[in-house]
Symmetry: C2
Subunit: 159 residues, 2 copies
DNA sequence: AATCTAGTTGAGACTTAGTCTCAAGAAAGA
DNA sequence: TCTTTCTTGAGACTAAGTCTCAACTAGATT
């Protein structure tokens, strides 16, 4: 079954009104792996130019609150969204040079997290675990940095 | 030795011009555990109201590039900064209700991360690992929206 | 089908956080 | 001192997102 249908059923089951705008937004959103709010606004408008920016943001907020999408901050630019509905949990490894994103799973880390929150008497609700580095390709190319340079370790700057 | 002196020596040793504004900004910054750029602007201006917003942002950028401060996105509101110069690496656990931030260390996770990046042929440069949940107090309180918790002064936390 | 009503929308003003430009000022070096 | 280079203040500007409200609509009720 198409992913957007599952999402729509989920929303329906939660008593959330399924408007034409929301259907369009959900259908465009599931077509991406990661996207920004403004990218989604633009995309949705190529299909229906009358959809207001506010509607896209409100719908994204709705999807986020209901757990259908996750919000990622990959440090560079505005937050990225990802439709994680009915998708296994994973964390991210990103190349700071070319932007490649790898999704990884590490049950050992998930387990240790539980120990950490218990240690402090917390109830864990969510988490993010992001690794930043250079992929094999980018490691061997000219280390010239882009204008919006990522933070480098002190040793690298001195060198 | 005062922490701001160490930071200033570090900047000096790197040939970075130590202006009066930068000294003031560094001294105010080290007095916090976590702070936002706008909070720092306000704070600095209570001492010298003529310091321009741009100067604070530029200096924060400088401190970030040189590894003196780290930038955190705790999801709610603008990014938080933290002076991590000469401070042991740690990750963060945050209460989404009251904004309390706990710093934790987990060598086991640090080790697993290395295995992950190796698995994909990456070179690890940095990472963030953030756990979100409810602290013991907030767990038993009527759920409300995540607040913009006030930043805490180091002295207040010690007290 | 017609009606009802609470939830949703478009439009655009507004806000917040941050960037950029540039003339003037200040630091370090000769 | 003079010179060069870097830094600053001021404020215009931008990007991203929020808010308001009259008009509209989905879904429920009749
Ligand atoms: Zn995880
Ligand atoms: Zn790469
Ligand atoms: Zn860590
Ligand atoms: Zn709390």
């Amino acid at each position: 079954m198409k992913r957007f249908v599952e999402v729509e059923q989920f929303l329906k089951a939660r008593g959330i009104r399924l408007t034409g705008e929301r259907q369009l937004i959900v259908r465009r959103a599931v077509s991406y792996l990661h996207f920004t709010a403004e990218e989604l606004v633009k995309d949705v408008r190529t299909i229906d130019p009358t959809v207001a920016r506010g509607t896209v943001y409100r719908t994204l907020g709705l999807l986020h609150r209901t757990g259908v999408v996750e919000k990622h901050d990959f440090r560079y630019g505005p937050p990225n969204y990802e439709v994680t509905f009915a998708k296994a949990h994973h964390d991210h490894l990103m190349c700071i040079q070319c932007g490649e994103i790898i999704e990884f799973q590490e049950p050992r880390v998930e387990h240790i997290q539980e120990q950490v929150v218990k240690r402090y008497g917390y109830q864990l609700l969510s988490h993010t675990h992001k690794l930043y580095g250079l992929c094999q390709k980018c490691r061997h190319v000219n280390p010239k940095r882009a204008s919006k340079a990522p933070m480098l370790h002190v040793e690298e700057i001195v060198a």
